[in-house]
């Protein structure tokens, strides 16, 4: 009897026969770019990352072409979280459409609501009461802080630091609980309505906010000490994934990723909405455009958001929080584009009304989708481990990318 040896996976004679249920034919390239990607040069190989991978911030699959430890090229595969939100919105009425947009970017869902609400309000030609505008600014800035503190923890986690995420969740949990007291939901708030907000500020929210505001700045600063002065973190991110302003504009980048290249483009200043023109705040920018700059711009934005909240709390007027509107929203036929500046960039909604109670077409633009395109160009030539650092610094959320 011949001796049984365990087959080695390196043995070139081992192959899966074509009839086997495990057999999968090599993919046929459909496009010029894919053909280029699928052609392996000498010494190159493919590595699959995801869809369940802790560093991809959701269900993203990335096929990486590597040469040794160097990334030659990569191809993100999307769609694992695709729910067809645009189609669902076309088959729902205007109020229902708002709550479908909540789970897009579950980290900062108030911004996903704010964009369609802004578009619908333009279609309806309705003026939002001033108190409702202040409440929207207040809750959006709180949500921005919650999103950025989580980013700060995530970024450190992707680089191998386990502690900061626990610290950043202290702030995020407090804000989430605060907003839960106001809206009744912890994650998918569904708080904005066409023409206002759902319910005025309540006592629990205000008392929690007051306590938090008195220690927020100091607490966030002390959390930053964990990361900003960490030499490993700084040396791994400085000079990594450098993006220049011209490329950023041509790639359609917005938000902190664009501002880290030196372009001071912020919708709160350039296309003022709500009561932002009356508030005082700075637009933090950096000129380096590397991963560290993208991180630091977001940290500076947290401080500006606290400043905005402080002003809003002092200037908030009394009054109604909802405009007078019919219960059934039936805008006149027309088109409108509403956009807000979110923690990741420009959230836009293009809504077409045909005069019925359902949007005829509702296009949702999400900044993460555009930013994910940059992962390929920015990581080319770097090490595999740096792919995570670049991806984390671009801060994509897959719920928004996949829609």
């Amino acid at each position: 009897m011949p001796q049984q040896t365990r087959p080695s996976l390196d043995d070139p004679r081992i192959s899966i026969p074509a009839g086997s249920e495990w057999y999968e034919p090599a993919p046929t390239p459909q496009t010029e770019r894919q053909a280029e990607f699928l052609t392996l040069k000498d010494g190159e190989m493919f590595v699959n990352m995801g869809p369940q991978h802790p560093s991809t911030h959701g269900v993203l699959r990335v096929v990486i072409k590597i040469d040794g430890e160097k990334v030659v090229d990569l191809d993100p595969v999307l769609g694992y979280l695709h729910r067809g939100v645009e189609k669902l919105c076309e088959n729902a009425d205007y109020h229902q459409a708002i709550c479908y947009t909540d789970p897009l970017e579950y980290v900062s869902s108030l911004f996903c609501e704010a964009a369609p609400v802004a578009a619908f309000e333009k279609l309806m030609e309705v003026d939002v009461p001033r108190r409702a505008q202040y409440i929207r600014v207040l809750t959006m800035e709180l949500n921005r802080i919650a999103s950025h503190t989580l980013f700060q923890g995530w970024m450190a986690l992707d680089l191998g630091g386990l502690t900061p995420i626990l610290w950043s969740f202290i702030e995020r949990d407090e804000i989430v609980d605060m907003l839960a007291a106001l809206t009744g939901q912890k994650l998918l708030y569904n708080y904005y309505r066409i023409g206002g907000v759902n319910g005025d500020l309540n006592h629990e929210f205000m008392s929690r906010l007051g306590t938090w505001m008195s220690r927020a700045a100091a607490q966030i600063d002390s959390n930053l000490g964990l990361i900003n002065e960490n030499e490993l973190f700084v040396r791994r991110t400085r000079g990594l994934g450098v993006l220049d302003a011209k490329t950023a504009l041509r790639m359609g980048v917005t938000g902190p990723n664009l501002r880290s290249t030196g372009v001071p483009y912020d919708l709160r200043r350039d296309r003022p909405y709500l009561v932002y023109p009356e508030l005082e705040f700075d637009i933090p920018t950096r000129t380096e455009g590397d991963s560290l700059a993208r991180y630091l711009v977001r940290i500076d934005e947290i401080k500006q958001s606290i400043r905005i909240i402080d002003q809003v709390l002092h200037e908030m007027p009394d009054g109604p929080v909802m405009a007078k509107l019919p219960r059934l929203i039936r805008p006149r036929p027309g088109r409108a584009f509403g956009a807000v500046e979110g923690p990741r960039g420009v959230y836009g909604t293009y809504a077409i009304s045909d005069g019925t109670d359902q949007p005829f077409r509702m296009r949702i633009h999400d900044p993460s989708f555009v930013h994910l395109q940059l992962v390929g160009p920015l990581t080319r030539g770097n090490l595999i481990a740096d792919t995570m650092a670049v991806m984390a610094s671009l801060d994509p959320v897959m719920g928004g990318v996949d829609k």
């Binding site: 459909q30 496009t31 010029e32 770019r33 894919q34 999307l78 769609g79 695709h82 067809g84 645009e86 189609k87 669902l88 076309e90 088959n91 333009k122 504009l249 041509r250 790639m251 359609g252 980048v253 917005t254 483009y265 350039d270 296309r271 027309g334 088109r335 409108a336 584009f337 956009a339 420009v346 836009g348 293009y350 077409i352 077409r361 296009r363 633009h365 989708f369 555009v370 994910l372 395109q373 996949d402 829609k403």
Partner: protein, 183 residues
Amino acid sequence: MDSALATLLATKLGERLLLPVRQRFDETEIRVSIAHATETLRILHDDPILEFEMLIDLCGVDTGEEMQVVYHLSSSRSSDWLRLIVPGLERNAPRIASATSIWPGAEWMEREAYDMFGIIFEGNRDLRRIYMPDDYRSFPLRKDFYLADDASRSPAAGVRNMERAGTPQDATPATALRRTTGA
């Protein structure tokens, strides 16, 4: 509303405009034909006075009779959003030139418009499905694609299997790519 932008666009674009410039709230809307689309985008991007450097959004629209491609642009020189509508794409074979030569970042948005509407962007190097699986045959955002629970509206009175991803038995390769499943 930026009325200076309206006159500027009218002089710069001239007879390329299909309709006069329309303005409402902070939006300026222009329409050009498919043949002039790339040229117009190029003028809007390169002109030193207009300087629409940012492509904020690109999407397809199915009106039921024709397809449209809609661009939303932003410039630091104007406080308005510029909406460029390119109407009149044929529903059975929608084709338009790609904007990736001006904005490489339009690549994925065009892939999405192809995935959802079947619009072919000539010149896009990577025009394939982005959300749906590669063997998927329908274009979900087209108006003749009905949701399963919305079947009462369908012409076939509710017999439509939306999850059937394979090619219909009677379809030739050409029609299979252009028609929604079982339509």
